[in-house]
Each structure stands twice: as C-alpha cells, then as structure tokens.
Symmetry: C2
Subunit: 641 residues, 2 copies
C-alpha cells in the first residue's frame, strides 16, 4: 500500500512565521497546500486535483495575504468572505483551511468520508461560506452576500471564484447583468481561467470568445493577470479596492494541474491524446508518488535555499475504509454501446452532451456519429431547449447530463418541450445516493419526483447492463412518450442476474428471489444489490423475502402487481430516492386503487433528509439502506400493524 | 355591451392584391392585424397588447415579405420558420395568421377560450412552430431547429423573436455562446426592443447596457434598425442572407403599444405615473373603442388616399362565455399587505421580485421598504441564489414569481439553498389551473411535486385573505424550515368563510361544511369554491359531504386526520395540481401509515394530463373539477369499492 504523508499544521506555522520574502513564502504555502490536497485525494480515492491546483495560488493568496480572516477569523460578522462557485477545487481549499488552523486534521484526512469533508463545499465544514458543486450559482450568491453586508451595515468584502467552463452556465450572465444594475460594488469575482473543463479544452467544448470584452460589455470592471503570480494578484486586487462604483472581475490565467509537471495543461493533454486525465479521480500509486515527490522535493529545495529546515512530514492517520463490492459492470457502458448500435439504424437519433461525454459514455457515439452529436457545454437549459427544437423538426434527441443538473436545472425547459408533444429521451446519469463522496450537489435523490407529475413521461431505471440495453431499445424504438433513463454512474456492486428469457414489459418487474413472507421492490444496481443482501440475510433467519427488480418507476401493471404480491401481507419499496415522489408513492397508489392495500403493511425505505456524504458502505449504512439494515427494518415491521 | 368588429380575411386579400406601394401595403396590413388583435383581446377579456403592437410590423413583414411560407405554406418541410420566444405577443401573431388564411376565424375570435387560441403560443394552433410563454428558451430552441434543418438537409431559415426584458434570462446567453461555437449560421434572432417590460422600463428593472456590444462580444453578427420601418427591416434581413458564417441578431427598436397613441411608450408611462398599463389585460370599453377607432380611422384615411374603398368590417361572432363567480377578494392583496406589516417589525425581511411586482403585490413593500426590496428582473435563478446569499448572511428573503417559473426554473438553486439549512420563503404566485387563459406555460400544476421531495420545506396554500395573513405570519415568525406559499393570482370566486376563532395549526385543516357520508379535502380559493359547490349539490341530493380546507400541502397531523375522517368510508382530495406529487399523495401516505386506509375509498380529483386553456368555468368543467362534476364523480365512486 502506498504511503501517504501530511504536512502538519506546525510546519505551516513555521513557514508562515519565517522571515523570508513575502511572495516566496506564499509560493511555499501554496505548494504545501498542493501536497496536502494531493494526499487527501489519494486517500479518498477520488477528488478534483486539476482545478484545486490551478486555483491554489489564488486561494492561498486570498487567505494569507488579502482577506481580513487571517486577523478576525472565519466567523466574524465583518469578515471578508471567499467561496468557490465551481466547488470541485475544494480539496485545495480544505488544505488551505487546515494550514490556517480552521479545519481539524481528521477532517482534512477524511475527504469524502462520513463525518469528514465533502467532495464539494458544504457549509457544515468550517470555513465554507456556501454550498456549491452545481455550477453557475456563485456570482448570484455572492451578490446576495454583498447586498446583505450593505443592508446590515457590515464590513468585509466578497470574493467568489468561478471556473471558466462554468461561464457556459447562463445564470452567470443573469448575475453579471443584475450586479451592475444594482451597483453591487463589493463583489469581486475571480475566474480561475485554466482553459480546460472536464476533459477537453474550453475552446473545444464551447469557446468563451473574448472574455474581457464580454465582461466589459456587461459593465464590469475587468482586470486580467496570471493566477500564479502573487505580485500580479496583489496589484489587481489592490486596484479593485479603488473601484467603488461597480462589481469587479479578475480573469486569472492559470494552468490546470499547476504544480505537478505531468498534470499541467497543455503537456497533460498532449500526453493523453488531447484528453485531460486529472480533472477528477485519484491518481494511481505511481502517479501519486511521483506528483507528491515533485511537490515536496521542490519545497525542500526552496526551504534549503532560504536557509530553512526540510519539511517534517507526518503519516496520514490509518485508513478505516469499509470494504465495498465492486464489479466491472457499468450500466453507463451498456447505455453508450446501445446508443451507438441503435444510432446506426435510427438516423433520426441525435445525442447531446453537456460536457460530460466521458462520464455519460457518449464519446463513442460522438466518434462514430459526429454528424449527429452535439456538444453543448455546461448549459443544461440550452441543451434541453435545443433538443426541443430538434424534436419539433422530427429528430429524436437524447439529452445527457447528471440527473441532478438535468432534471432540476432544466426542469422548466423539459416541461416546455413536453407541452409540445414531441419525443425526447432524457438520460439522467449519476442518479441516486451512490457514489456519495461528491455530496449533495451530485447525489440525485429528487429526480423521479421532478419528472413524475409530467403526464407524458415514462421513467425507467435498469439494474444491469443487459437491462440497460433493453431500456434504451424501448425508449428509442417502442415508447410513445418522453422517456427518462435513470442510470447510476459507478460500477455495479454485484452483477445482477436476470432470469433467462427476461424481456422488458411495460409496468412489470421481474422476480430475482422468491419468498412467501413479504415482497421487496427495488431498482438500479446499487439498491438491487442491497435488496438481495437483505433477502439473503433474512433467508438465513428463516424469513423468505421475495425480491423484485422493478425498472418502471412510474408505470405499474396492476395485474402483475396483484400476482406479484399474492398472499403476502407486507410490501416494501427500496428507493434510490427521497421518500416522496418515487416508486413507493406510485406503488402505494397502485396498491390502493386496485384493492390490494387492505390489511397490507407497506413501507418505503428511502433516503430520508439530505443525503449524507461518504463511501458507499458508510452512507448506505448511515441511511439504513444497506442489506443488513434493511433486513432489520423488515423484521421490525414484519407486516403486522 | 361594447361592439366588437373584425376585419375579415377577404379584406386582407383585397389589400394584399391591391396595386399599391409595397411598404404602404405592409403598413396597412400591420394595422389591420393590430385592429384584429385588439378586438380579440377585448373579447377574451385579457391578453397582451403592448408587445403584440410593438412586434406587429416585424411579424407582418416576415410573413408577407420575407419568409417563404407565403409561397410554400406553413407545413412544408423546407419552409422558413418563425416563432416568438417571448410568446405574449401572440394575439398579434394570431391576427397575422388569420389574415393569411392559416387560422380559422372562429379560432381568432375565441382567444383564451377552450377550443380557441391559447394566451401563449401552443403548437396545436396552426402556424405556431413552438410553445412559449416562459421566457428565454427561444434562441436555444431556434438553434435546435436550425441544426435539424442542417442534419436533414432541409431548406428554410429560422427566425425567432425575443423581448428585451427577456434578455435578463440567463439561458439566452447560453444559447448566444453555443450558437457561435456550433456555427449555427441559419439562425436569425430579432429583438423586439420596445424598452418596457411588465410595467416599467427595462432600464429601471435591470438595464441591458450596450446591447450591440453585448451581442458582438458573444461573436454574433449584429444589426440594428427601427422595427417599424419596413425598408430598414428589409435591408437588415437582406444583409443577414449574406452572412453565412455566424448567427445573426437584429435589434429592432420598437415602441411598446405602437399604433394606438395612448398605449405608446413613452407617452403611456407619463400618463400613468411611470407605470405601463397595456402590457397585459384587456382595455375597458372606452379605451377599446378609442383604440380601435384610431386604428381603423387611420386605415380608412390611408385607403382613401390610395384610392381604395374603406374597410368592410364584420361583427365578431356572439359571445358564449359562461358566467363565473368573482369577488373582489385577492389572496395576493392580503399577502402583500402582510409583508408590509410584518416588514415593519422584522428588519431582516427582504423581498425580492422578478419583474412581477404588481402581480405579486409586492410593490407596496417596495415603496415602504425600498432599502429591503430587490428588483432582480426576469432572472429567477439569479433571484433564488441571491436569496441564498442573503440567507447565509442572516436575512430572511421572500422570493416572488409565478409558481411555474419559480418552482421549476430555479429548482436546482432552491435545492442548493436548502442544503445550506438557511431559511427562505418562496412565494409561488399564479399557482394552479386557474386562470386558464394564458395556457400551459403559466398554469402551474406541478409546483407542489417540485418542492415535495425537499426534506426541509413546508408548503402552504391559503383559501382566503384572512388565512393568507396567518400563513405569511407563520412562515415569517413561526416556521423553522423553508416555506412555500402557494397563491392563486385571480380573484376568489367566492369569499370562503372560516369558522370564528380559526387559527393555523401545523398539519391541521378546518371543516367548512360537515357531512357524514364522505370527506373532501381541498385548498385554495378556486378549489375550495368548487368543493363547497360539490357539497351543496350533493346535499341537495341527500348526500352529506364533509368539506375540509387543508392549507398544509405536505404536513398532515395524523390525529387530526383520524378525527376528521371519523367513520366515513370515503375520502377525496381535490387537487389544484397534477394527480402526482400533490396533497393527495401526502394524504394517502398518511392514511396508510396510520391504519386509516383499510376499507376506505380514496380518490384524487386532479388536473389530469396537460391543463386545458380557456375561461375558468370552461376549463374546470373540461377537467371535471367544477362543483357539479365533482358531485357526480363522488356519487359515482360512493365509497364502495
């Protein structure tokens, strides 16, 4: 196992207190933060390094040299406020907070763990001023904070960092427009302009054009400098203090992956066929060791030059990660393959992506059918209305994004399209509770409810790769209505085996394990696994649970349900969703409307409250949705009311 | 009763065929369209005149002089496509379609009636290419159409009209950005730049700054001319044909209300204390007569000058409007008054508006507490995240917009705020089915479902002014969570009388009429009226229906429910919402979880399918949600399964 070390707080204090050149000191501190961010991501097994590294010189500068929080702390009402709108640079931010003494060591070292720090900023973590992770909201929120300071007569400036790909989100322009009109001068936006979004250059996804001209056309005070040069940052922000009649934006030119040679753009792109590898995910052991050694080596060389002692590193606390089953089965792989295959026959199929082509597995379609693939950037609303226009002209568009962003952010555009009685397929990737490391912004547990009141939508979630292909075929070739395909993003924790000869039939699920005591309905690879585990645990105790895979989340065939429930007096639905508006509510309505509810014990096992972050086993257990907890809950309920 | 006349299709044919100067002809045709638009809005009793009139010269020019539809018709696959993104200019559009023979007379004359034409564009109406009414989607959709034409190798240009206030919506900038990157050259945007939004100048709401510079900074080809000068329009669009490498935008300077002197900006603003009166709503008889006479008089003078006969006018078909009860009771009035009163004590209350200050009755707050009122323009996402920033800094923001736009469009921003565990009040105006004239874009029948899966939200809808004040007080002074206040926009069809001493208690409704056979739960003034009517109708037949006002849409006190249902074996919920995700589902869950469901007949009366448009009585009857229909449905169900 790879050895992971930490630069302890005491070393930050030593460097901070050293009598050395201010700018060299900032450079040292920023690199120390890089090392700790890298270590925490390695331990977490995932996280965003590329933009942590591009932004770290800026964030280090703000907290150590610019903002009053170094003096008044992070809780003073008159404090300066900084937060990141893009949010995925948060491992770097945590490292900064740790070095300043704001964040305890165990939280830094438990990135993406239950009780540790979240994969995207969450206000429950010390120093975090705003939740983010879904892009484009930060300037608006910062504007609200600035107005609040004004209303309350409180001091303190507002700094908000955005990404550059993030500038594809339209909300940013709403805020640019209104902030000028409302004369919100106490608002400093810093664009971490690292030129690379998820895995391709911004200029290839949706080019931003002349950014300076764009901001100026909105009436902002604009400055531009290197985001890695502390003197330039200092000068730009000093100038901002003198501008008191309008909001200010600093375009900080940065390098994605800055500080680890092989992660730096543009070299990193060249080394990987034009795709950037280090946006998210932890490096393998070799890369980690090389990257960490590069940063620490550079630090020690500089410390030596400055006549200071080498860094004293600590071991990371021991790992307490729970084991979790993982296969090489990805439903998204099957989805991508099915699109390519069906796309060969169906020339009206158009696939649209919102800068998640790799995650959504639509890159293969892009490569094979470039004439019917549209990259629309991080602009879900535009993507959905674009699809509406295509559909009105006779095409069958497939919109792809993470469920959180697609179902919620573009919800009104989806409704508008639906009113036109066209057909569109919405592929909601990254649906459900798991993986839980990235936190609430990415865990999509409301998407079924966001579609369910639309009268011409059918919502499906497949449990394995085989069923995924059936679902895609159904949505493209058989369905008469709009379709939502709900897909988990991670690997299946086990291969769910469907009975031989199984085929998709509208409103009908399939029995995966029989049992006469109660029936449990579930959907998707993660929850089917837990449902089967529950059945296994109960079986060992002599309680025979029938476990049913139910891919139809808002269509239930009453005759099938009657037959499936049979004489059982207890029915359970395991939701990969909140308790409201999911399959459970559809099931309850169907049971009731068909006279199946009398004397029945019915219970939904769902994600109660906001989803916790952590590893899959931690979070499933926390929500009592893991197999053993489900077994307990079923035994406790037992069908007797 | 005022006499309403129509300029018949035959007169359009006569003028169109006359051997007169092309531009004078276009001017005549545009004014003829103005007269018919005015007449149809007068008959409808509501509709948007100001922007119909500002845009009518442009739309007339496009259909009579620019687009190939005059030759190939409105269904040819190679046709030019025009649609309005703002959508509320649709009375003018219908007049154009009628004059061209695309729209039957009875549809023109039945604006906002069941089976007639919708208050916002709907593709089921001949000539309408896209649904709109919710702002900011059009450029994206037009981009989709242009790409579809390219993919399919079809001819025809795409024209889309936007408003200027509409340019406050961020989605527009997503589309501006991506259209350039994607080289969508076959895309012609025309901004109807009439300088006035709902009732104030754009420059006062959220100024657009230098629009030309803004579009240029996004890489568009930009032209600007008068939108009332056919020669200039012709020249600008001819130039657009020569630009083949980028999308094009024409900023057409227009006058809101153009063609009726007292409706024209800026005179109309001066005459009404700076507020524009003619954005929506029908003119009174005197204004209608004066306006219509002005247009027809001008037409006849010109016809005479040209040696042509005066216009032969037809009477409008007789009106078949069903009577509907209307009081002077507006829940929104009580909401606005409550905010002002509470705002005097609660200095942390901040009210935010999205250009609907008059409709949402927050103008009184704006005038009394200008220091804690924020006008944020037509930018719901920005408004909601702005509120998030204010809440993080300790304020209690009240976000106001129509339910459709607030709950749906800003849904992810609402979730993001909710994750921060702050408190925000979302005032969802214009909720529910009624008024039904404006159509699907405005009828909000999904909003409960869009909030319901959020764990820290309480959703309330008051049934009268008195209860509205209680609800506002609860939300501001008592609630611990985020609150949604759902309000109808129109007058109450009857004054709902609450029992003396009634006070709001969490999760508990109140009995308005007792009866031992069955219980009907409803909420809001419109549906409470229908529920009471149902009870009255059933009572006359000896069926005693208990009618309960239930303002808590996602909180139900089980003990109260048990007591309220009592021995009754049938329970009904009347939804001002879709059948999924409303009070009915919450009620069913509560009945079931508390053992009240056995042997119970439970039924939801809800808006099935997409909402119909028309007058309130037409639409309530269409959906079988009017009192008499409900009585029939209850007798048919009768509690025996």
């Amino acid at each position: 196992m790879v050895k992971i070390t930490l630069i302890p707080k005491s070393e930050f204090d030593r460097v901070r207190g050293a009598a050395i050149d201010k700018y060299r000191k900032l450079s040292l501190l920023a690199d120390m933060n890089r090392a700790n961010a890298l270590a925490s991501v390695k331990r977490a097994g995932s996280g965003h390094l590329g933009s942590s590294f591009s932004s770290l010189d800026i964030v280090t500068f703000l907290y150590y040299a610019e903002m009053n929080t170094a003096a008044v702390g992070i809780r003073d009402p008159d404090r300066d406020v900084y937060f990141s709108s893009k949010g995925h640079d948060v491992p770097g931010f945590y490292a900064v907070q740790y070095g300043l003494g704001n964040l305890p060591k165990d939280q830094l070292c438990r990135l993406r763990r239950l009780g540790g720090t979240c994969g995207h900023p969450d206000v429950s973590t010390p120093g975090v001023e705003a939740n983010s992770g879904s892009l484009g909201m930060g300037v608006s929120k910062a504007k609200g904070m600035a107005l609040a300071k004004k209303f309350a007569g409180r001091k303190g400036r507002i700094f908000v960092m955005t990404g550059d790909g993030e500038l594809q989100e339209g909300q940013v322009y709403e805020a640019l427009q209104s902030a000028v009109h409302q004369k919100v001068a106490n608002l400093n936006v810093i664009v971490d302009h690292n030129k690379v979004q998820t895995d391709k250059p911004v200029a290839q996804i949706i080019d931003l054009g002349d950014l300076e001209a764009k901001f100026r056309s909105f009436g902002w005070h604009v400055a531009r400098c290197s985001g890695h040069d502390f003197r330039q940052l200092e000068k730009a922000l000093a100038e901002f203090r003198t501008v008191s009649d309008k909001p200010k934006v600093l375009i900080a030119d940065t390098i994605k992956g800055r500080g680890v040679s092989f992660m730096e753009h543009p070299a990193a792109l060249k080394a990987n066929n034009g795709l950037y590898r280090w946006h998210s995910g932890a490096p393998d052991d070799e890369s980690f060791n090389a990257g960490h050694a590069e940063i620490v080596g550079r630090l020690n060389r500089q410390l030596k030059e400055l006549g200071l002692a080498e860094l004293a590193l600590e071991d990371f606390p021991p790992d307490d990660k729970l084991p979790s089953g993982v296969t090489r089965q990805y439903v998204a792989d099957a989805f991508g393959e099915a699109l390519v295959e069906i796309g060969r026959k169906r020339k009206d199929l158009v696939v649209i992506d919102a800068d998640l082509a790799a995650d959504c597995r639509v890159r293969a379609f892009e490569l094979e059918h470039p004439d019917r693939f549209i990259e629309d950037g991080i602009a879900e609303q535009d993507m959905v209305s674009l699809a509406g226009g295509l559909a009105l002209q006779g095409f069958l568009p497939v919109c792809n994004s993470f469920a959180s962003f697609l179902a919620s952010r573009a919800n009104e555009q989806i409704y508008n399209n639906a009113c036109e009685n066209t057909r569109i397929i919405y592929a909601c990737h990254y649906s459900g509770l798991i993986p839980a490391g990235p936190g609430q912004s990415h865990q999509s547990i409301r998407d079924i409810s966001l579609f369910a009141a639309l009268p011409n939508f059918v919502i499906l979630q497949p449990c394995n790769m085989e069923e995924t292909k059936m679902v895609v075929d159904y949505c493209v070739n058989q369905a008469k209505e709009n379709c939502v395909i709900r897909l988990i993003i991670g690997p299946s924790p086990r291969e769910i085996v469907l009975p031989a000869g199984y085929r998709l039939q509208e409103g009908r699920g399939v029995v995966l394990a029989d049992g006469d005591r109660a029936v449990l309905f579930a959907y998707g690879p993660v929850m089917m696994h837990e449902a089967l585990r529950a059945g296994e645990a109960l079986g060992a105790k002599g309680f025979a649970l029938k476990v049913v895979n139910m891919p139809w989340l808002n269509r239930i065939d009453a005759a099938w349900l009657r037959e499936t429930v049979g004489e059982r007096k207890a029915a359970y639905v395991l939701e990969d969703h909140a308790p409201v508006g999911g399959l459970g509510d559809a099931m309850l309505n169907c049971l009731f409307a068909n006279g199946l509810a009398d004397g029945m014990h019915f219970e939904k096992f769902a994600v109660e409250g906001f989803p916790a972050w952590g590893t899959p086993p931690e979070v499933l257990r926390f929500h009592r949705l893991d197999g053993p907890s489900l077994a307990e809950r079923i035994l406790a309920g037992r069908g007797e009311r």
